[in-house]
């Protein structure tokens, strides 16, 4: 804060933007190609893995998170963490409910309709 209004923000070069852009295009081609291969249960893992890699590139470089203040990085980590809580607890609930009870309810709904 000593030299006031000194310009210290990090400017990402167009070269790096272009490289990220190319990486995202490669990722898109890769995920489309992978969708037509049979990897058994790993198809979804691969698709989401590539999507997460692409999203990470966008956040780090296009959104400048890598060069941003620690405070911003903390906010991003918090977002992912809260999202994980929401997904994990909701899915855990659905996975551990008495499945027969759920089925009975849905069947009654179908037959009474």
């Amino acid at each position: 804060m000593a030299e006031h209004s000194e310009h210290t923000e990090h400017i990402v070069s167009p070269k790096l933007y272009a490289a990220i852009f190319l990486a995202l295009i490669v990722g898109t081609s890769l995920t489309t190609w992978a969708a037509f291969q049979d990897f058994g249960p790993f198809n979804i893992v691969i698709a989401l893995g590539i999507a997460t890699a692409k999203a990470t590139l966008v956040v780090l470089y296009f959104m400048h998170a890598r060069y941003g203040p620690r405070r911003t990085q903390l906010v991003i980590v918090c977002a992912v963490f809260w999202l994980a809580i929401m997904l994990a607890l909701t899915l855990a609930d659905y996975q551990t409910r008495n499945p027969r009870a759920v089925q009975l309810v849905s069947r009654t709904a179908v037959y009474s309709a």
């Binding site: 272009a18 852009f21 489309t32 969708a35 989401l48 590539i50 296009f62 959104m63 999202l83």
Partner: protein
């Protein structure tokens, strides 16, 4: 967002002022992550429950249009990033150019999305009374041999799926309800983004964005990239989940 580049009383430096503004934008984006997260959660639960019906629904989507749209959106993110760069480095004449490119690519995305929606209307895949997952297989008039074979595969897939899920009609509607809700909400964000870009364009033509003051370009850029990220996840989840069969 403050209207001018001058230093406001509550801040010590311009840099602190900009960081506060950007932090506010990021916190807004966190709420958006959780907003879309709820929809992704609903999708995951239902896809797990009605696996066959979701596969059938997903395979009716046009993969060429979907991939093209993904590339268009990534390109628009790149031009948006370039708009931020031109503002940061003081290339005042180039800022509007990159904003127009971003706006144009965003419009192309929405146009392709419109074509896809129209296709779903024609194929009776809008949830409701006239929904019929068999409509396309029964009524399409294939012109080429390749299309005929494609339809035969689809018919076979539908028969197979009906064996595992007798109520495929209603469960496929669930897929399309989620498809329209998620892509519709995403498209709505794009439309809001296009409005913001128009405003940025107007201001940039007045030469307002400089290396000292470019917070609006940066923050609307963050929003635009976020919308891109949502699509990066929507694309594999909606279009690609059951293609390998």
């Amino acid at each position: 967002m403050h209207r001018t580049g001058e230093l406001y009383g509550q801040f010590q430096t311009l840099e602190q002022q900009k960081e506060s503004s950007t932090l506010g934008m990021w916190i807004f984006l966190v709420t958006e992550v959780l907003f879309f997260g709820g929809m992704f959660c609903t999708y995951t639960i239902n896809r797990h429950e009605y696996f066959a019906a979701f596969g059938i629904g997903s395979n009716t989507l046009d993969i060429t249009l979907g991939t093209a749209n993904t590339i268009v959106l990534i390109m628009s993110s790149f031009t948006m990033a370039m708009a931020v760069w031109t503002a940061q480095t003081g290339k005042k004449k180039l800022v509007p150019l990159f904003l127009i490119l971003t706006l144009g690519l965003g419009t192309v995305f929405l146009g392709i999305k419109g074509v896809e929606y129209k296709q779903k209307f024609d194929h009776h895949l809008i949830p409701g009374r006239s929904f019929d997952v068999w409509y396309q297989v029964d009524n399409a008039k294939p012109a080429a041999e390749r299309e005929k074979r494609q339809l035969d595969t689809e018919r076979e897939e539908l028969h197979k799926a009906t064996l595992t899920d007798p109520d495929i009609q209603s469960h496929a509607q669930l897929y399309f309800s989620l498809y329209f809700a998620m892509t519709g909400l995403h498209a709505l964000h794009m439309i809001v983004g296009a409005g913001l870009l128009l405003w940025l364009l107007k201001e940039s033509l007045r030469g307002r964005f400089t290396p000292q003051y470019n917070t609006p370009v940066e923050n609307i850029g963050l929003y635009w990239h976020f919308v891109d990220i949502v699509w990066i996840y929507l694309f594999p989840l909606l279009y690609l989940i059951d293609r390998h069969k």
